[in-house]
Point group: none
Chain length 205, copies 4
């Protein structure tokens, strides 16, 4: 890695750390610079302005997330898992996500924060992330219904159950460090959650 790239990375890392902790607006470029071990001027050599630095955090994280998890088209996913059951598919999906969130917990925090207070980030999140996640989830649910595995509840609530547990985990455990952080690993978390939800939504007949 070139010296340039290293410096750029140092800055980004420093920014993520501080912003995750104190919020974007309350983190000064001075602090970011100091924390990164570079001068303030250097930050602006690499990032046009403070906003671009934030955007980089957001977009990079989301890109990584896509690369990691969401980037395959739905037909591909289904094709690849043709003879796997729906719950296996969901299990894989959830585990993957938990894993990613754990590994990128600081950057995820930043995205959470800014989604709440920054219009641009909010729109980006809605249009780029949410839409795609929603689509994937929905299509799995529909599949499950077609196979007669899921009973007739508004998809809306099923998604709520799934997403809710994911986001609860992220927000309360990773962000606020409230709960039983690390009591279970990603795979166990996914399994336990699905155990409840599947029972809750499955067709009894």
């Amino acid at each position: 890695m070139s010296k340039s790239e290293e410096t750029k990375k140092k800055i980004l890392k420093s920014a993520i750390e501080l912003v995750a902790d104190k919020g974007y607006a309350s983190t000064s470029t001075r602090e970011i610079a100091k924390n990164a071990g570079v001068s303030e001027a250097t930050i602006f050599k690499y990032y046009k302005n403070k906003d671009q630095l934030l955007k980089k955090i957001v977009s990079k994280t989301i890109n990584d997330f896509f690369k990691y998890s969401l980037n395959k088209s739905l037909p591909e996913v289904f094709e690849a898992n043709k003879n796997k059951s729906i719950d296996y598919l969901l299990q894989e999906l959830l585990t993957e996500r938990f894993q990613f969130f754990k590994e990128n917990s600081k950057a995820i925090q930043v995205i959470f924060q800014e989604t709440m207070v920054n219009k641009e980030v909010r729109e980006f999140f809605k249009n780029k992330v949410w839409t795609k996640m929603d689509e994937l989830e929905t299509s799995i649910i529909i599949k499950g219904k077609k196979q007669g595995l899921i009973r007739n509840i508004d998809n809306y609530f099923i998604k709520k159950a799934l997403f809710g547990m994911i986001f609860y985990t992220v927000f309360f455990e990773e962000v606020l460090e409230l709960d039983n952080k690390n009591k279970y690993n990603s795979e166990e978390q996914a399994r336990a959650i699905l155990d409840i939800i599947f029972k809750g939504i499955k067709n009894d007949k």
Copy 2:
């Protein structure tokens, strides 16, 4: 209401609106004053400093929440609902909460935001709110288990299912205005959620 009190309220309301939209750190006292129709100096007549204004938003909302929902001691609650079933109890509880969140959505947003970036608020939230909510939930679950209604899953996951759905609703629907906002009223939401979760956690025998 005295003129003083009115002014004070105007300021608080103005602050909640703006802070919910743009975040505490990005909202200037100048804007708050303008939006409230008072001078900047007036704000500082009523609130020692900007931080106190934030604290007031947080503490007032949480107090309201307690008054509204969490303020009875657990034995009282159980005594009062002695001959009601557990799911009725939870249904009531959830409905109440959804209702409160809907009515105080802006202030709740502020609490969410600041819980993420402000150490003091975070501690306050952990110690005052979370603990109490957790306690209540836990004791209900324990009760349910004793009555043989709930199967043997780590309480942790059951709470996750419950809180997750609440959280999801607040964050995604009220804060981000993403989803089917207002498709269902608070009571319907509560019922549908519990329908899934209860099936998911109930003892089958």
Copy 3:
């Protein structure tokens, strides 16, 4: 005069002094503030930004100039001086201008400077000031030609002779303080200049 207005004036005065001496771009708001005996923040209470402060200097000076000298419509001027000779008219005009330039020499310097380096000021000067001055001059010359007093030379050169001397005086004497500053008063200057030019352009027949 209210305290506000006094402060505002102090700032403007301080700015004119410093900018005339060192140029707009090289004069910091810090210096202007210090020189005015106020804090930097106060400057920005009264002027949205540094540019607005410059604009105020320019527009105020030009407005004063118009009030002082150019604001009457041409027919008015001619009507009021119906039975005065052309050279008397020009003599009045020039004297007036010299006088104004002497009294506002610092602000005029600022306008000169910025006309050279600032697109906006340049356009403003072209459209608002130059056009009007040119119009007046031209119409006087035309009048003189009609009366058979001025020989047949391209107006362009006559204006050049007139403007040139004015300009020279301002630039070299007031701005650069080069020459015989104050050797002659405004009226004497005007008379001597016209003495030369009139001889130079008059019809000999």
Copy 4:
């Protein structure tokens, strides 16, 4: 020309262009470098600091001017033009100057600007340029008076008439691009101006 010299020239040219347009203080070394197609560091290889770059622009232009026009000592000039009339001499002189100004309009603009805002340049201009020009003009006028060609007016006004027209032309036509730029060539300009002034100052007897 060596590569070094070429680079140095590129930088100077780039600086003149930009500074003429926006002023010295508002032109950054970054822009100059970019416009010249070199790195910022390279500028400082060739010019100790930004100020030296400005000084080079000023001194080079003035040197060129001297080489072009003012460098012969007065006796030389007169000796060389012994049997030419005064007005022929002035005509030559003016034409020469207009020509030079047209050809070096950008650099001349820089000198104008900086003469107004930069003490050092101002002194340089006063002592090196102005004095010499003034001397030449004065001696020609004196000669004219001795020959009985020029009537008894304070030299000061005669010079004002001459210089005024020159500077008007430079400032308003070259710098501000206001007027009939290029309607007349240098020689025609000189002739027309002298036509007026000579009539204006000549001895009538």
